[in-house]
Symmetry: C2
Subunit: 473 residues, 2 copies
């Protein structure tokens, strides 16, 4: 029977793929341009369905030409790695395929999400908190800003927002672009997100924040929202939450912590101090799909005060869907989504599997691997560290002997390394300096993986240098 | 080794679960209250991780107490069924675990999403259209309303929305609550969503729409957005798009089609006429996770005019993430999300597997099963059809011999049937009359499944009637 054959074939492919994640001789990507990709995969849907063999071949090709984010040389994004129990948990989530609006249709998943939110709140220090799983960090930041808007202007939910009572938000100049998107979506306007200066390590400067708030008030505006970023996407900087909380308290402003990238650091006894003051924030975005290696998406918004999320939504809607017949809280009442994927279950399975201690070890390991990578840069004469390492991000560049345009050289080096498929690492600009950015996000990274990365980039750089020499001849 | 054992154990469970979906003797749900659930599953995460056996037991329990939405007696929601190739496609999506912002990190998935949007646009008749996969129908409606707002008031993206230029939206009084949520989120205000009268079958009345628009203009407001619902959640009514398009053109208003529930009907040569005029809309929300039985979430927003989505977002953001180095369009530029799940790949695998013809047959079958259910109601003296069937929804109630309070009887009947686990079906109110609502969403439904449902509800009703008689004695 077609289905059973496909299922067995697929299972063998899954086993092999998972094993291959550990094999460094397998490339991170078999790079193809869009045109080349269309030559090897037939993307068009036909009138008739495909055979078993064709279907199995499509599965192979999907894996073959996708980026292998579970490979330990994938150091490009703020997420990476392959989390075995979370993968299995996700497969079972898809198998049961329930939606998160009501207990009636998702009794186990509703209870698991409630449990996960409660556990995460205990780390955030929210003793009467609440929260919900959302569709990503950008959405978490949006719901946080939405909640802050509704606290200051509760009537905006019914009547609409009035820009002449100008609400103004404040974020680190290196904060994620989602805050501008959120202000745009919410009717507040992207220009009303003020970017506060950060120090040379990328941390927001509290005095600058206060200055901006005072200037805003003097302009007749209403400062209503401040976000602390933990951590920034390029330098991995953790904003000083404690000092920011003092300022927000003084001016009665909602303080949000955007821990989309680095929020999971709160699990570590050793490093939790970097988020000192988190319990004084009003909301906290935390993406377990990043440093906890849960498959995409697994993202939660926590709020300090119970009732905040219902206030946003349910007070204005009464709908057929929420019968509340089993006398439990239907999670849909707190969400701007109606149908919603079950994203908490994979997290629960992974947390059950590793235990709290296991996850602490994984997070601590990420920090140690970043330190190790930093040391590797420092001890290599060809490499220049471009910023003091803050957490899980190491920014550096290669200094060739024969090239003068370092930005161009390093850009080409990164591109060439990526397309070789041996290692993938990202880049960004610190001022006008192009920095290669290595992220330690995969909990299973070992020193040998970091060593291999620096070997790979060095080989690639030498190839470039040689090319340079030949050109000079 | 722990992982291999778990993987093999999990694979056997998956095979058994899929086979059990076809077995009608297996209950749709083993109903448990929240307290009872906590007795059978240990939801707490421990300090240490669990053993293989415990992990496998948790997988069992997750499936055992979740609602079995793949069982053919799950007729409760607007989605149901188990789509084998889509399930496999989703598992491989999770295995590769790439994010939808850049071609660089998701070359195959980006190409697949682009192909799916193009195929869906061809059905919508958008010849220069665009689109993006979003986190659900509510989100699709939000992005549509956002796009309409930004067309009328492009400066609102930067400066914020000004409620004194009052934008007003119009929807069927039976439209989904997400439009009010969207107006709330977008700063337009939930009260500025005007609910237009529908006829006895649930279709919006075009004359009433025009009256409301004229009245709004006379109040000095700015009508900017009209949504046609196809189909409504209770009666399955398809709004008259063609007539609504004429009115929207006359007053220069954005016309959106909310096909979150019934948009997939457009695949059918036989029934496509029910969405006549769809090519005249400006945007179209279509959830393949409903009638195409793709695992949750698979939801797209299509827009008629290329560039609309970038205009919303990218014109105001330039960020480190979009390098555009492979000279393809990074999909992240069109999205209010940053990291985004790959939701198009499972749809692609399913569409490849069934072919276009296969999907047409599935959709036509859904309509035939609804007709068959309607006939079953009509020919049963104990059942009363409460509304003329429009599409995939059949609304009826049971008329007992000894009970006078029909709403109470039918509510209890539905609850009791649900908790028995034999069949699950939802309810809602048509005016003040409680209607039991049966949805045909599972493409594999056969007449015998519909027969079994009516047998089950009849058995349950007779149990109630007998109870009634005993009480009278």
């Amino acid at each position: 029977m077609k289905e059973i054959e496909i299922l067995s074939g697929a299972f063998n492919k899954i086993k092999a793929y998972i094993a291959d994640n550990q094999d460094n001789s397998i490339p991170v990507v078999q790079f193809r341009t869009p045109a080349q990709l269309k030559e090897v995969i037939n993307f068009k849907v036909g009138n008739k369905g495909v055979s078993e063999d064709e279907f199995l071949e499509l599965l192979d090709k999907y894996l073959e030409y996708s980026v292998r984010t579970g490979n330990k040389q994938f150091l490009n994004q703020l997420y990476s790695g392959f989390n075995f129990p979370a993968f299995i948990g996700e497969v079972f989530t898809v198998l049961a395929n329930t939606s998160m609006y009501t207990y009636e249709v998702a009794p186990v998943a509703t209870t698991i999400e409630t449990e996960m939110i409660s556990l995460m709140n205990s780390y955030a220090g929210y003793t009467d908190g609440d929260g919900i799983f959302v569709s990503g960090g950008s959405n978490a930041n949006l719901v946080a800003m939405f909640s802050a808007r509704n606290k200051v202007l509760p009537e905006s939910r019914f009547e609409g927002y009035d820009r002449y009572q100008k609400l103004v938000a404040f974020v680190n100049e290196q904060a994620h672009y989602s805050f501008e998107t959120a202000a745009n979506v919410l009717g507040i306007g992207a220009k009303n997100v003020i970017k506060v200066k950060s120090d040379k390590n990328g941390k927001l400067i509290p005095d600058e924040l206060e200055k901006e708030i005072v200037a805003s008030i003097q302009r007749g505006e209403k400062p209503f929202f401040v976000a602390a970023t933990c951590a920034t996407t390029l330098l991995g900087a953790y904003d000083p939450i404690e000092e920011m909380a003092g300022i927000c308290q003084k001016y009665n402003i909602w303080l949000h912590a955007d821990g989309s990238f680095g929020g999971s650091l709160i699990l570590s006894d050793k490093y939790r101090h970097m988020m000192k003051g988190i319990e004084k924030t009003d909301s906290f975005a935390w993406n377990p799909h990043k440093l906890m290696n849960i498959p995409l998406i697994c993202s939660a918004l926590l709020v300090k005060k119970r009732g905040t999320l219902q206030h946003n939504i349910t007070d204005i809607n009464t709908d057929y869907i929420f019968h509340d017949i089993d006398t439990v809280e239907d999670l849909g009442k707190k969400s701007i989504q109606c149908g919603r994927r079950v994203d908490a279950v994979k997290l629960w399975f992974a947390w059950k599997y590793f235990g709290l201690e296991g996850y602490q070890k994984r997070i601590d390991n990420l920090m140690e691997m970043a330190m190790y990578a930093e040391d590797k840069v420092k001890e290599n004469d060809h490499l220049e560290l471009l910023s003091e390492r803050q957490s899980f991000s190491v920014c550096f560049r290669y200094i060739p002997e024969h090239d003068d345009d370092l930005n161009k050289f390093n850009l080409e080096l990164r591109e060439s390394l990526r397309k070789s498929g041996r290692s993938i690492v990202n880049y960004g600009y610190i001022g006008k300096t192009l920095a290669i950015r290595l992220i330690t996000a995969n909990g299973e990274l070992a020193k040998s993986d970091i060593d291999l990365f620096f070997d790979n980039i060095t080989v690639e750089a030498i190839k470039f240098e040689t090319r340079g020499q030949l050109e000079y001849v």
